[in-house]
Symmetry: C2
Subunit: 385 residues, 2 copies
């Protein structure tokens, strides 16, 4: 049982190709003020702000080398000094990132608890989020690896689901995990929503550093060895911690779910409605945006005439629309996207086609991508998770 | 009977708000290479090139003062030296422009024949156009005021129609005019198409300078007086002829049709299929454009995924579209238009709304228009016809 602060570990490795063209290799979605227009805060900043205060230690941020200065600047704007900004030489998904963070934190505090958070999610109800965190911390102190579940509000086929099991002894609102399920087909998803004991897998976790390392060591010993070597060979580089290149690149690219959560017997889940959205596509931004009387969510300099239920975003230019509905229109500096709202997920395909080829699990170097002089500007790097 | 060259009189006063945002006050549609992509020729250049050769004299171009250098440069590119570039101090529709041209041409040649042509039409079949011109010239030499009619291919409600009367004596393919009719409703338009003796009013004319001046003098003496004064007070300004400001502005703003053709007994019509389009809207550009297998007409840097029957134009940027159909997407530098193809006519409304108010029959001075720092760039001036 510990009572110290919870250490936020913010994962900021992704590129979010589905929010292209706003989200690109050099300015991924979590670093953009896509959601909170008024405050002009990026999702990364919102995420960090959400876990500031006496209950939390300063954040550990794990990110792509290319984004380090933008991230440092965004933290400076918030007046927050991270405990560490850890630079990944390449994306290796979430498990190595969490293990590295655990290795760093356990050095100073053998009872350190990690709250692992993606940086590109929206959470509107911060109080409920914090209440869920307090609940999860109790289970973590009991040796559990806790995941946060989002009660599904629609038969979403783009997320994984978690079925809860028995109530966690002595912690009201926490459950054992019955099983993880992959992204379902629409009918199966409908069944999950109706069943009532399934939750969306939010990708947020809370666990003791020691607990994670024990289970990861047991289940993925090679990955943990690579992570240990990457930390041992890390070097301080001004305000950043640069992981050992060779060792980290050798680590298996795998998510926390696949590597640990789906196999451990110590898994637990705290289901909590907290106004969560993964902002995974433009249609998600339409859903969480403010709507005018015609159902349009509009950002920037936009004029409409008989337009309905559309998401329209102008970034420094003027967008005009006449007599259309259910569209996504996003105008970046030099790239314009017009898509049917129900095809918003296919933006990913378009980006892959632009790249000329899909580049799995590596950071895409602009020059390697599609031909054309502006390629480097619209190429999306691959995610590290 | 004369046998000398025909003098093309090119009217280039319009602004074409329905092709906004490509067409704007300072670069109206006739000065843009909207149609002939490969040659990069503007519609004005195409129009002038169409009437070059031994049968034609050098063109008289009548235009807005603001466009004079662009027009001079476009003529230089073609290697054509106009007989005159006449600058209108303000748009006064087509009748004063034609009368001014007649007054200028009759000075040197009492038998001068004028071929009056809008500069913003597409004519694909130049041979038929020239054959129709030769036919019309015969009737003009007989004292007729000849208009060119386009056999309607659809019940278009955006054009005026002309019903032909008796065959013109001795000139096969030429007819007397029975009557002019205004833009009809769809049912009436259907009737016109089915009747077979109606043609679209193309706005192209051929007549002797003396014939026009006689009839205009009889029907609109005040307007002719103003035009005479404007020519008398005109001054040569480098390569341009600047009409007398006060006199020309005092002239009634009226079309050749209203002022003369609908009232004269000397009217004639040569109906001729010649691949004509007035390029009056983006949907017209879709119609005359080359289509890919999915029915899209695409210009510039465009990528599509499951897109059908759409007009997509990228001007220096990249436009991507996913899962949409029947759209017009036009991306200018700083303004993007997305419209349902069947609402393409409403672009005009959008421009008026941008202007803050409609400015009928005056050249719109940018600073007078809607608020906003970029207004001057997207304000459409009003047409001079």
């Amino acid at each position: 049982m510990t009572g110290g602060p919870i250490h936020p570990v913010i994962l900021s490795g992704g590129a979010g190709t589905r929010l292209w063209p706003m989200s690109r290799a050099l300015r991924p979605k979590q670093l953009l003020p896509l959601v909170s227009e008024l405050s002009e805060r990026s999702m990364l900043q919102e995420t960090v702000a959400r876990v500031s205060g006496p209950d939390f230690g300063p954040p550990v941020i794990i990110c792509n080398d290319e984004h380090r200065f933008v991230i440092a600047e965004q933290m400076r704007e918030l007046g927050i000094e991270p405990r560490a900004v850890v630079l990944e030489p390449a994306g290796r998904n979430t498990a190595p990132a969490a293990v590295v963070a655990a290795l760093l934190l356990i050095r100073d505090d053998p009872d350190a608890r990690l709250l692992v958070l993606p940086s590109d999610h929206v959470i509107e109800d911060v109080e409920r989020f914090r209440a869920a965190t307090a609940l999860a911390a109790k289970a973590a102190d009991d040796g559990a690896l806790v995941t946060f579940g989002i009660p599904p509000t629609r038969p979403e086929t783009g997320y994984g689901y978690i079925r809860r099991g028995e109530p966690y002894p002595g912690i009201d609102g926490c459950y054992r995990i019955d099983r993880f399920v992959e992204k379902p087909d629409p009918e199966t998803a409908r069944g999950y929503v109706d069943a009532g004991d399934y939750a969306w897998n939010s990708g947020m976790f809370l666990f003791g550093a020691g607990t994670l390392l024990d289970e990861a060591q047991r289940l993925k010993p090679d990955m943990v060895s690579c992570c240990r070597a990457a930390v041992a060979n890390a070097r301080e580089d001004l305000d950043f911690l640069r992981l050992g290149h060779e060792a980290f690149v050798a680590a298996e690219s795998v998510s926390i779910d696949y590597a640990v959560m789906e196999h451990t017997r110590r898994g637990a889940i705290v289901p909590a409605e907290m106004g969560w959205s993964d902002v995974g596509s433009w249609s998600a931004l339409w859903e969480i945006g403010d709507h005018d009387a015609q159902g349009n969510a509009v950002v920037g300099d936009v004029m409409t005439l008989d337009v309905r239920d559309s998401y329209i975003r102008a970034d420094g230019n003027l967008v005009t629309a006449i007599g259309v509905e259910d569209l996504v229109i996003v105008a970046a500096d030099d790239v314009i996207l017009v898509a049917s709202r129900d095809r918003a997920q296919d933006v990913k395909k378009m980006v892959e086609e632009l790249e000329g080829r899909a580049v799995p699990n590596t950071t895409c170097i602009p020059a390697c991508c599609a031909p054309g002089d502006r390629t480097s500007r619209w190429t999306a790097a691959n995610a590290s998770r």
